[in-house]
Symmetry: C2
Subunit: 197 residues, 2 copies
């Protein structure tokens, strides 16, 4: 359950800027997807079906399997910006969890966590993801529809439409500098209703 | 379900400072409790049993009853600092919900929500409270042990040990400027385990 951090995270920290999101501009063939590894200005692009092998092989991002998994993000003290990334294989699809430490307000790093489907938004709308923190008699749960990796993770995070943790909450939920994030994916209620009919 | 805002909130905003928390210094008789209405430097003090009538009569704070209630905080756009306060009567006890809009970082107001038992911390340890926001296919849940009103709500909020919402999340969960907060109180697992034994 060790996380894979993008190698470029530290580079970005040294430059003090986040790379801009080129996703939509860079894709000329609508069937081609840019590399979805955040904080990494990777020139790769390919079809959706080969995003997963690219992320595994080039960026060494691990895949966890199962309906409910626990992702352990270590070294939460690392300076912002830093990303923790894992793929989650579930219900016949692959999802990308991005946990980002970022200073929206200078000197006050926050943690942002979101889940994206390696697929289209129409496919993503069929699912609900849940992120759960549970420690010290406190529990925090965030549930939402995953976004498609065709969207830019930077804009999801800058919109704040994700699980947001300030440093003090992150510390309350951390154990020895590591944050255990429970992840569950379910089919969304629209589909359950169809099954019931 | 209309909220009661402390009359002093606007006064504090004009002064630009939060009043310091005098609770522990002011209480000479350990059986006496200061007024627990946040943002209000009320000189009242009395025994725990008469805190509820004081809050109702002097500060016009409403009481909602039931195991699961919904508190509708209106006018979320009001400038920080502003408090929304309600009492919740449940399982033979009264709880105080405090929702506070405050600028920890200048120009970036956040919302902080916590629940306190009008009783001692030993009594509070028997309960778990849950705050839930649910709108636009997103759900955010916070569960924790309530604090005692003998503690200072200011320190709970400055510690960040509560539900924290930035402005963008608050807007996602708001409807027409109002935030509906689902509140549930249960006896904590320690007691459930005793019941099972």
């Amino acid at each position: 359950y060790a996380p894979t951090r993008c190698a470029a995270a530290q580079t970005s920290a040294e430059q003090g800027v986040l790379p801009p999101c080129h996703h939509h501009e860079a894709v000329h063939d609508p069937q081609l997807v840019p590399c979805t590894c955040p904080l990494f200005s990777c020139p790769w692009e390919g079809h959706l079906e080969v995003v997963v092998p690219h992320l595994r092989q080039t960026h060494r991002i691990n895949i966890l399997q199962g309906a409910e998994i626990v992702f352990l993000a270590t070294d939460m003290h690392l300076p912002a910006p830093t990303d923790w990334i894992i793929m989650h294989s579930c219900l016949g699809h692959q999802f990308l969890l991005v946990l980002r430490k970022q200073e929206k307000y200078e000197g006050h790093p926050q943690f942002f966590a979101t889940m994206m489907l390696i697929g289209t938004q129409t496919q993503a709308d069929n699912f609900t993801y849940r992120l759960e923190l549970n420690r010290n008699q406190r529990r925090l749960k965030w549930e939402a529809t995953p976004r498609s990796v065709l969207e830019c993770v930077d804009s999801v995070i800058s919109d704040g439409d994700c699980l947001v943790l300030n440093t003090s909450l992150a510390q309350l939920f951390s154990d020895n500098g590591s944050l255990a994030i429970g992840i569950a994916i379910t089919t969304s209620k629209v589909h359950n209703a169809e099954n019931d009919a």
